[in-house]
């Protein structure tokens, strides 16, 4: 599973950091950094984080490109 965050939208509310600290982290005061490829054991947390983001800035999904099913 891949994630991308629309950092124009992100307000650094950090709900995602709280819910999936291995995938999202605050770097400095309000810079969000995320791990684009989510490890298998973190997917459920990442999905929950995406659902909880107050500005819906997080997109999760399968890798885009050929070989979709």
């Amino acid at each position: 599973m891949q994630i991308v965050v629309d950092l124009n939208r992100c307000q650094a509310y950090a709900q995602c950091v709280f819910l999936a600290p291995e995938v999202f982290e605050l770097h400095g005061e309000e810079t969000l950094m995320f791990m684009p490829t989510v490890p298998d054991d973190q997917q459920e947390r990442a999905r929950r984080a995406a659902a909880a983001c107050p500005v819906q800035a997080i997109l999760t999904g399968e890798q885009a490109g050929p070989g979709e099913w």
Partner: protein, 463 residues
């Protein structure tokens, strides 16, 4: 054509952020016809902003930054293949592998590439790199991992500054050389440029402004150092050339489209112009390669190298490709972007270079937390926040409603805002870095060339 969904063949050239989001939107809009995406890079679509951030910091690997899809697109993907030209009469794209791809509608989303070091022999030295692709990033990370004694960054735009920030965070010595008066000055003007210079120096960057690199030196094919216009020289193990971007329009040379070094011109509905300034109805443009008119900026053609613009413009272009007449939409989004460097979250809304004055409306340079508001002839045209992102939406509203400049309210800290000062946006010609927001005039293309009468020019030799 009435309420029926449009059907025909669609080809998208450029399979990165804009190409992908356009493909998804086409399907969302009900397009069921054949769809082909052509991309020169072998990788499926990936996200570029992490290349100069998470990837350089070692928090994500360059091979692991793929973009998630929003939905299945049921397309044919031709990756690792370049498009070499368009035959506008027969409506075909010519691919480097010889295939001729017929289309009814075409989307051009070929983006930009890193501007190379102008001296090819020096550019080939082992240790001289650029940063645009995941491959570039993998190479740079390998060099940084090897613990170079010093990294030289040429150009202090956003990419160069982010690279310098990552180097410092990794404890590496870094020198940044910029021909202009300050880092980021091309996009943000004088006041924030001076601020960026202070921040870089406080983080231990050896920043040299008003200086150019005159030559890169090497030994046995390996980069060893550089000579500067002020007569000094320096040893370094790695040089990163961050001189801005070049638009990928050369492949359109024989297409008859208004494509040039500043991008491919289109109307507010993302329809490409021909070189005669006539709008086409079957060729569309989106993302970093596009130049489009914006009503908030006196209908000047804007060329934006921003993630958010690639997404928004791709969505509008895709929708307009499969609808007609009054159901088509304009691409009027107010430009926005972010950058993170030296622990600061820098965000922008509007076009800071479209300004004559700037005022620090909230916070201060000293606190490293501020809102700079830009005005042009008495109205607000842009705002840039540093660690104050929550204010962006407020200023976006002021920009959209052409609110008067200087802003009257907003000083939440109760302190009257400072007096506006000239915004000091330099001529981009005088900078090492290219501004990522460029106003490019009103004409579809200044470089009109006369074509002799006869068949329409075509990149594809016909038998």
């Amino acid at each position: 054509m009435s309420g029926e969904p449009w059907d025909g063949r669609i080809v998208i050239v450029g399979a990165s952020l804009a190409g992908l989001r356009a493909a998804e939107t086409l399907r969302d809009e009900g397009f069921t016809g054949p769809l082909t995406l052509v991309g020169e890079e072998p990788e499926p679509p990936y996200d570029r902003p992490p290349l100069s951030k998470q990837v350089l910091l070692g928090k994500a690997r360059a091979e692991e930054i793929g973009l998630p899809r929003r939905r299945k697109v049921d397309a044919r993907w031709k990756l690792g293949v370049r498009a070499d030209g368009i035959d506008p009469v027969e409506k075909r794209v010519l691919l480097a592998d010889g295939e001729l791809l017929p289309f009814d509608r075409l989307l051009i989303a070929t983006g930009t590439r890193a501007r190379p070091w102008p001296n090819p022999a020096e550019a080939r030295l082992d240790g001289v790199l650029t940063l645009r692709t995941s491959e570039d990033a993998a190479r740079l990370v390998e060099r940084l991992d090897a613990g170079p004694r010093r990294v030289l960054v040429i150009g202090a735009g956003f990419t160069g500054s982010e690279i310098a920030s990552a180097c410092r965070e990794r404890g590496l010595e870094v020198t940044v050389v910029e021909r202009g008066p300050a880092p980021l000055v091309g996009a943000l003007g004088g006041a924030l440029g001076a601020f960026a210079a202070t921040v870089q120096r406080a983080h231990g960057v050896d920043l040299r402004c008003g200086v150019t690199v005159t030559s890169l030196t090497g030994r046995d094919g390996r980069f060893t150092g550089a000579e500067f216009s002020d007569g000094s020289r320096m040893d370094a193990d790695v040089a990163v050339v961050a001189l801005g971007a070049v638009r990928n329009t050369e492949w359109l040379a024989g297409s008859g489209l208004a494509a040039g070094p500043r991008g491919l011109a289109c109307d507010a509905g993302c329809r490409a112009f021909t070189m005669y300034g006539i709008v086409t109805d079957d060729v569309f443009v989106a993302g970093d390669v596009a130049r489009f008119p914006h009503p908030l900026f006196e209908y000047q053609m804007l060329a934006l190298e921003h993630w958010g613009n690639a997404v928004a413009q791709a969505e509008v272009a895709a929708r307009n490709m499969v609808t007609t007449g009054p159901r088509r939409r304009p691409h009027l989004t107010v430009p926005v972007f972010w950058s993170s460097q030296f622990g600061l979250n820098i965000k922008s809304v509007g076009v800071p270079t479209f300004s004559d004055q700037v005022v620090i409306a909230q916070g201060s340079l000293r606190e490293r937390r501020l809102v700079a508001v830009y005005g042009y002839r008495g109205r607000i045209t842009a705002a840039v926040t540093v660690n104050q992102a929550k204010w962006l939406e407020h200023y976006q509203f002021l920009i959209e409603t052409a609110a008067p400049f200087p802003p009257t309210t907003g000083a939440a800290n109760g302190i009257a805002p400072a007096a506006p000062v000239p915004s000091d946006v330099p001529d981009p010609q005088l900078l090492s870095h290219g501004p990522t927001v460029a106003l490019t005039g009103h004409l579809p293309d200044r470089r009109l060339t006369l074509v002799p009468p006869g068949p329409v020019p075509s990149a594809i030799p016909r038998p």
